[in-house]
């Protein structure tokens, strides 16, 4: 069996092509790997330098902190000593000032109280004198007012009773007049008056 030469050439071209592709892929991989290795190395170097820097910073910070703490402790001890001393001085001073103020105000208060008491006593005695006088005047006024009021009340009641009495007398008079008139009329006169009333009612349109 003979292979057609065309197939043989196609086969060779295909192999060549595949070999070329393979070479390109391998080359690309190699380049990528190289680049990756460089980046990785650089990264490691960077990390290493960062760690060193951090360590340095931490070391410095620790040293600085220790210095600050030591200094602060020294200052605190100093302040405490000063404060204890100041507190004592302040307390003494305060007590002294307070005593002075209290003394001053108590003296003033005592003086004021004495003055006020004296003034009140004077005022009270004056007022009492006035009241006694006024009471006596008031009693007279009251007596006069009461008398006047009583007189007015008596007068009012007198008038009222007189009016009431007049009304009663008036009523009695009225009743008596009716009674007398009624009795003074005989049956015939009564009947005449009834007839007269009927005729009058008729005349005036009452019937």
């Amino acid at each position: 069996m003979l292979i057609d030469p065309i197939f043989f050439y196609i086969f060779l071209i295909t192999i060549f092509f595949l070999a070329a592709v393979l070479v390109i892929v391998v080359w690309t991989q190699i380049l990528f790997f190289k680049k990756f290795s460089a980046v990785k190395k650089e990264n490691l170097q960077l990390k290493s330098s960062l760690i060193n820097e951090e360590a340095e910073i931490l070391k410095n910070a620790r040293e600085k902190g220790e210095r600050i703490i030591t200094s602060a402790l020294k200052q605190a001890v100093q302040i405490e000593n000063t404060a204890q001393m100041n507190q004592k001085e302040f307390s003494e001073l305060l007590n002294k000032e307070l005593n002075q103020v209290i003394k001053k105000y108590s003296d003033q208060l005592e003086e004021n109280s004495r003055k006020a008491l004296s003034s009140y006593q004077k005022s009270l005695s004056g007022q009492m004198e006035k009241n006694i006088k006024s009471s006596s005047d008031s009693a007279e006024d009251f007596e006069r007012a009461l008398l006047s009021s009583m007189e007015a009340e008596i007068e009012k009641q007198k008038t009222e009773r007189l009016v009431r009495l007049s009304e009663q007398i008036f009523g009695v008079l009225q009743d008596a007049s009716k009674e007398v008139l009624n009795r003074s009329l005989n049956l015939s006169a009564h009947e005449d008056l009834i007839t007269e009333a009927l005729e009058k009612a008729k005349r005036n349109g009452g019937l």
């Binding site: 008036f170 009225q174 009716k178 019937l207």
Partner: protein, 149 residues
């Protein structure tokens, strides 16, 4: 029938007559023996010549009488004393002649009115008593009288 009413002058007379008629209507033909009538009804029966043995005639008489009685109009008359029967008759005749043919009187006695009359008729009221006049006179002269007291 006009004659019937001429002998009835007052409301009590009319009321009594009506009550008597109603009683007779219920019992007249049930009772045995003689039945007595009031003088007023006897007079009316006699005047109208009603035969009491004839039921239909009696019933007609009663019906007419009741009908006439229901048409009467009442004049209320308040007076100070009880008037005489003659006066009532005279007054009622006058009333029928001058005011209303069907009028009867309803007399009330009230001595406090002294004299005269208080009249009430068909919704109209007139106080024409001496007592009222006296009160008016006293009211008018009150101040004068009080001053004299």
């Amino acid at each position: 029938m006009k004659q019937y009413l001429e002998i009835i002058y007052t409301k009590p007379e009319a009321d009594n007559l009506l009550a008597e008629i109603e009683e007779l209507e219920r019992n007249l033909f049930r009772l045995s023996g003689r039945v007595s009538f009031s003088p007023l009804l006897s007079q009316l029966v006699q005047e109208q010549g009603v035969d009491l043995k004839i039921k239909s005639q009696v019933n007609e008489f009663f019906e007419t009488l009741k009908n006439e009685l229901s048409k009467l109009v009442v004049l209320d008359l308040t007076v100070a004393i009880k008037p005489s029967a003659e006066f009532l008759a005279r007054t009622c005749h006058w009333l029928r002649a001058e005011i209303d043919q069907k009028a009867i009187l309803d007399i009330k006695v009230d001595p406090s009115i002294v004299a005269g009359a208080i009249i009430s008729f068909k919704g109209k009221y007139r106080d024409l008593s001496v007592g009222k006049k006296l009160e008016e006179w006293f009211e008018e002269k009150k101040e004068e009288i009080n001053n004299k007291l």
